[in-house]
Subunit: 337 residues, 2 copies
DNA sequence: GCGCTCTACTAGCGCGCTCTAGTTCGAGTA
DNA sequence: TACTCGAACTAGAGCGCGCTAGTAGAGCGC
């Protein structure tokens, strides 16, 4: 910076003004400074800048690698952050790299706010984070913690999916839940409520699972094994999310079960995975872009008005009917309603 | 920091020593300092630290959101970087966020080295980057640019895939290429060479495409449309990568073509997508973990010995036969060899 | 001529840390 | 006793910026 100032024949302060695009420099000086800077390859050092001004204007985003819905969210976070003049730093949780580690990395790099995509940490830890920095949790509700919250009205999504299946004539609808996964508890509750509402209380069955393909595969195998032992297959499966639905599909198809002829499968998320299935996955669509925008806005607004209380945004999901749902096999014909 | 020093009854320098875990402080002082720091919630400011020591020990990773193979790579980058004592910052290219922007963000955050996953930028730009910071390109060869390079021996992978198909009896094998995508040029060349080697020169057909599901879907539709017009379907498709293969699969299956009975499909990457297909995708496996390790090591070694010349690592890929490849339909029986 | 304002610019402190070149002190050594 | 030495600790410069409080000088009205 001093070099630039010398060569341009001005003071360092002036160079600073030019680079911050602030008033106080004439047009020609501005141009001269920029030209000189370009010549000697000067770029402002963000560490020093950050140190000097005390603010980083950086949002830290924690996500889980391989969680496809997260990449959909990330794609929405960037433009909104840029619009509001904030930088984005990404940190992934992965195998061998815990969420805490990922978050510490963000904090260490001076992120002013944290946007956590489907965090799986203890509420106590999240609350602590929320007190240390502005924190937004996406998809995972954190009761009584000082964090903003953006999620879908899971119950509405599940209800739509269940109504769709019941209308097609399904009765034996099982739910693979997402364990501790974000939104799982509510989805599970809503599944039970829907079954009761449709008079299918006796058919309720929740199979423990998680939000991974592997979990779907295991459940698929479990169902096939049950069939071996003479038990009937369910006619429809409501999976915890799209990844799990994909796993079920794979396992069932490999086992000679045809979807949707023999079994219907419905996912949740409408991550871009859903389009890829040869027959298209019927799923509950969450609007990733909108969720991302809310998350960024919540974070930024609370950064700029610290007295603001954390808020909650609940977005309406929408069932998207594609190829994996259809009427149940003959003998389980449509309900007469 | 001064607060901690005061309360612990030592100098700031001592606090610094303790936090850097350096010799020069007694056991009890160390404990006392850490305890006090914990009490008042002190955490070292990385911006200042960075500024003071002049080095960030941070690797910047640019990847493309939705490129599933990249997330496989990222998962491998973290542990290796941690092992070598480096931090990792992620920056995604996405729709509306160019690679250049993603890279500038990393540079702005003082990354010492760049690891670019399948960059799509001009060689001239990459060379410029290579001169500005230690740069490693993964998957994309950049001739004559000052960057390290980690990739697979594409030709070996393609050759294995082609041998496999030919042995099954296929003759009408088309290749959907990856356009400007990483590795595409070499895969295309190798496809042509393999066809010639097997005496199938007359059957050579390269369909332009890219490394996305959409491209696969379009190609699948194109093939179906040709069949409508009375042209024969190819008996096998070698896709540019797994995503493209998924797209082809989807389009063909929707069009009533059964895989692998009517057409065999082979992908490239073995990203975790490949396992998800109901019947498992036959594909050429690239070892993401190993590639990630090489990339990190190249970067770190050149940071620590700047006189080192950029290097190249070529890893052997391996065909993984799963469910999407099989003998061609009757009439195209196995070759007598 | 004077004071006033406005634009263009500058001096220099401080952000929170690291690091070099010390000092202090007690134990070991000749 | 006088010294050396190492462990434990400290003073203070400096990293590259932003920012506040200022100055210089041009233009203007009276």
């Amino acid at each position: 910076m001093a070099d630039v100032a010398d060569r341009a024949g001005v003071s360092r302060a002036l160079v600073s003004i030019v680079f911050r695009n602030q008033p106080g420099a004439s047009r020609e000086t501005r141009e001269r400074v920029l030209r000189v800077a370009d010549e000697i390859g000067y770029r402002p050092d963000s560490a020093a800048r950050l140190l000097a001004r005390g603010r980083s204007r950086t949002l830290g985003v924690m996500f889980t690698v391989h969680q496809t819905f997260h990449t959909d969210l990330i794609e929405g976070i960037y433009p909104e952050a840029e619009r509001l003049g904030y930088d984005v730093l990404l940190s992934a949780a992965a195998q061998g790299r815990s969420e805490e580690k990922a978050v510490e990395a963000l904090l260490g790099h001076r992120c002013e706010a944290l946007i956590l995509l489907g965090p799986d940490a203890e509420p106590a830890y999240l609350d602590e984070l929320g007190r240390r920095a502005v924190t937004v949790s996406v998809s995972r509700r954190v009761p009584r913690a000082r964090v903003d919250f953006v999620h879908s009205a899971e119950s509405k999504g599940v209800r739509q999916a269940m109504d769709h299946l019941v209308e097609l004539g399904h009765r034996g609808i099982v739910h693979i839940d997402g364990g501790r996964g974000p939104g799982s508890a509510e989805r599970r509750r809503s599944y039970r409520a829907a079954m009761r509402r449709h008079g299918l209380e006796a058919e309720i069955r929740v199979i423990p699972g998680e939000h991974t393909e592997q979990s779907g595969i295991e459940t698929g195998r479990l169902l096939l094994a049950e069939r071996e032992r003479g038990l009937p297959l369910p006619t429809a499966v409501l999976a915890g999310n799209d990844r799990c639905a994909m796993g079920v599909l794979m396992a069932l198809t490999r086992g000679g079960v045809e979807v949707p002829r023999d079994v219907s499968v419905v996912g949740f998320d409408d991550s871009h995975l859903s389009h890829l299935m040869p027959i298209g996955l019927t799923t509950v669509r969450q609007d990733a872009r909108l969720m991302a925008e809310y998350a960024v806005r919540f974070a930024v607004e609370r950064l700029e008005e610290p007295q603001l209380e954390p808020r909650e945004a609940v977005l309406d999901p929408k069932l998207v009917v594609r190829g994996t749902s259809g009427p149940p096999p003959a003998g389980d014909g449509p309900l007469v309603r």
